[in-house]
Symmetry: C2
Subunit: 162 residues, 2 copies
């Protein structure tokens, strides 16, 4: 099916980078979550600070219950949501949009089309951004080549001599 193809394509693009493999596992292996987690555990898992997790909660992005001591208890649903949220943040989706998205998600299935629209827009944003960065990468490599290789002295002026 199409989704397998997508993941396969992603894996192709990512190669064997261990960090990426770990990250892909977070996509493909969501069942491996502990029954419940402390804030420190979640922070470690997602590579964010406990401060940030509390901030996300304050921002209304996720609800977290407390134990008898008043300490946060992250259930698997909360953790999965935070996995999603941190990925979206990492890829540049603004807090505002995430707050909107989460409000929609909490409003029920009727909002699926609008959520889909948001995801599609984000997908397009990501594609544009990747193109931009790819272009900048090419320009940077070009500059490194003219600088380091000294292979094309007549091309050095391509962007002046900074």
């Amino acid at each position: 099916m199409a989704t397998d193809e997508l993941l396969h394509r992603a894996l192709e693009l990512l190669g064997d980078d261990p960090l990426s493999v770990e990250a892909i596992q977070r996509v493909t292996d969501p069942g491996a979550l502990a029954e419940s987690m402390t804030i420190a555990e979640v922070a470690e898992l997602l590579d964010v600070s406990a401060h940030t997790l509390r901030y996300y909660e304050r921002a209304g992005l996720v609800e977290v219950s407390r134990d008898a001591l008043g300490h946060r208890v992250y259930d698997p649903a909360a953790v999965r949501r935070l996995v999603f949220l941190t990925r979206m943040r990492l890829s540049g989706m603004p807090m505002r949009d995430l707050q909107h998205y989460i409000a929609l998600a909490d409003a029920g299935d009727d909002t699926v089309p609008e959520r889909l629209d948001m995801l599609i827009e984000h997908r397009d944003t990501l594609r544009r951004r990747i193109r931009e960065l790819t272009l900048s990468l090419a320009a940077t490599e070009f500059k490194i080549a003219t600088y380091g290789g000294r292979a094309a002295p007549d091309a050095v002026d391509a962007e002046s001599s900074e």
Copy 2:
């Protein structure tokens, strides 16, 4: 030579997107700059505000001379530098680093190795970032597929039902 290969690769990746073609031209066709430009012209060319150009000047990133009226006159060297600077900014290099880089550039050829180091580090940062975004793109496409296609209802739980 190697630099041609890099640009060729970039063009392959970019396809026929008009915006990208325009951008590539900014890399490959630096000779087409007017003798001197006003702040409004440069702002338009680089798609930034005049405010931002003045800000960059204040930040020490570029020196710009004035005409008899005190208005800024951007000569080709300044424009080329700003092309470079805006591309670096667009690709996420912090102002701090650009200030350092420019200080090195202004200090003469002895600083070429350090500038090269900075470019190489930036290149690596870009590669990592592109990988991250590619991963997020795959995850987003995956989610769109499970949402929109309804093709894999048993996979919907991959990231809960946000």
